[in-house]
């Protein structure tokens, strides 16, 4: 199997991937409005303000939407897998995979509670995945 397609951090996103390597889901928020956003950028996309801060998210989310891909990408193995969007407790959505449960419509119910887990994929990259809460 070819090696997994992995991100290459940029200066604006490096903190996120360094956090992931330490097992922390880091978001950013506008210091004034306290509104969180994702993916990372050094300003608030609602207001344009550069007065922002990085903070550790709770890691709690709900399953927002997904597909189960029946034509696996070669680096993803041979079995169908869910490509999901989760809605984080802090508001933003993010794409991820759901781990620790069957990749079936029956097991993957919209709005089910999830929590983040990190899986180390290389020396520099850990990917945030989500698993059913409490599982």
């Amino acid at each position: 199997m070819p090696s997994r397609m992995l991100p290459e951090p940029t200066p604006e996103t490096r903190h996120f991937w360094e956090g992931a390597l330490k097992g922390e889901l880091l978001l950013q928020r506008n210091r004034d409005t306290q509104e969180a956003y994702f993916p990372p950028r050094p300003f608030c996309p609602k207001t344009g303000s550069r007065d922002i801060e990085v903070f550790k998210a709770s890691g709690r989310a709900v399953l927002w939407s997904y597909v189960i891909n029946h034509r696996p990408r070669p680096d993803m193995g041979t079995e169908p897998y869910a490509i999901a969007v989760v809605k984080l407790e802090e508001g933003p959505t993010m794409m991820t995979n759901i781990v620790g449960c069957p990749q079936t419509p029956e097991a993957l119910q919209l709005d089910m509670p999830l929590e983040v887990v990190f899986e180390k994929m290389s020396d520099t990259i850990a990917l945030p995945f989500f698993k059913p809460a409490g599982a």
Binding site: M5, P7, S65, V67, R71, I83, A84
Partner: protein, 380 residues
Amino acid sequence: MKPGSVAVVGAAETTKMGVIPDLSVIGLHADAALNAMADAGLKPSDIDGVATAGVSPTELAWYLGIKPNYADGTSVGGCSFMLHVRHAAAAIAAGHAKTILVTHGESGKSRVGAGRFGASPSSLAGQFEMPYGPVGPPSMFTVPVLRYLKTRGYTQEDLAHVAVVQREWAAKNPRATFKDPITVDDVMNSRMIAYPFRILMCCLVTDGGGALILTSADRAKDFPQKPVYVLGTGESVETPLVSQMYDSNSSTAFRISGKAAFEEAGIRHADVDHLMIYDAFAHLPLYGLEDLGFVKPGEAAAFIREGNTRAGGKLPLNTNGGGLSYMHSGMYGMYALQESVRQMRGIAPAQVPGAKISVCQGVGGMFGAAGTVIFGNEAP
């Protein structure tokens, strides 16, 4: 632009459609361009503006021997050509060019002279979507849909209905790739691609191209074909990441683009005789009907199921069979525009009797962009 001040005077698709292994990407652009010039009675030296996506306007102009004083390389995916029409209308109105050629060509199936797909691993998509395993549009464009179905109370069978009705239209089009009738059961039993999407809910992958020529309405009367007037246009862009749509249940770009076009044209929804909504996948016409304001959110599935978009219905939709059955080379927007122009000329294989106004809605990327063109066949 004053509504109706610019018109399409040349329109054509590639000579062949479907599988065209004997032409490269730039060759498909040129074949369509030469066909559109023949349609308009023009030579390359008569063209003073070029617009295209997929290849650069530089490559297009040089390949055809055109020395333009207007070039537009807007490339926002499959609706780029709607944006090219909009920009061309503005440029003609501003006096920047008199006769503008818009082309599309894509070797989607045969991949002759075609580039590769894929995002750089340092791009936003490369960092925040690609690591999770999407394989092109079938496993990306479809990601918001389970949420949309739940919010609206729609079912997977509602997606299947979209494909069934469009196949009915395709059967009336000799150049359509798939013409055999299908049922909802056929769609629901077809091969799973990316749950809940089955193969008959996904667009074709074919080769082809198309081209348009636009000029001012006062010149348009001197051309051989019946002029098709541009009444209103709109455009917007939203996000390169489908996971970051502002609302999974609605295309913000569709709403902005559609509203601008209707306002510019000064028409109401009841005035529209014919509608094209770029259907890369079966959910697009549902979003489009809602986001363009033809129905309220939650009413689109029943609107299609009850036959309103069929032949003889009150709003014929995707009358060439759409990306699901007619053809889809990758950037389908050009074929939607071609069908709107045929309907306005009154020469479409599945002609809507007496149609006077056609709305043509494009999407780019995975809900990444939108373009709207409203055509009419009577000078306002």
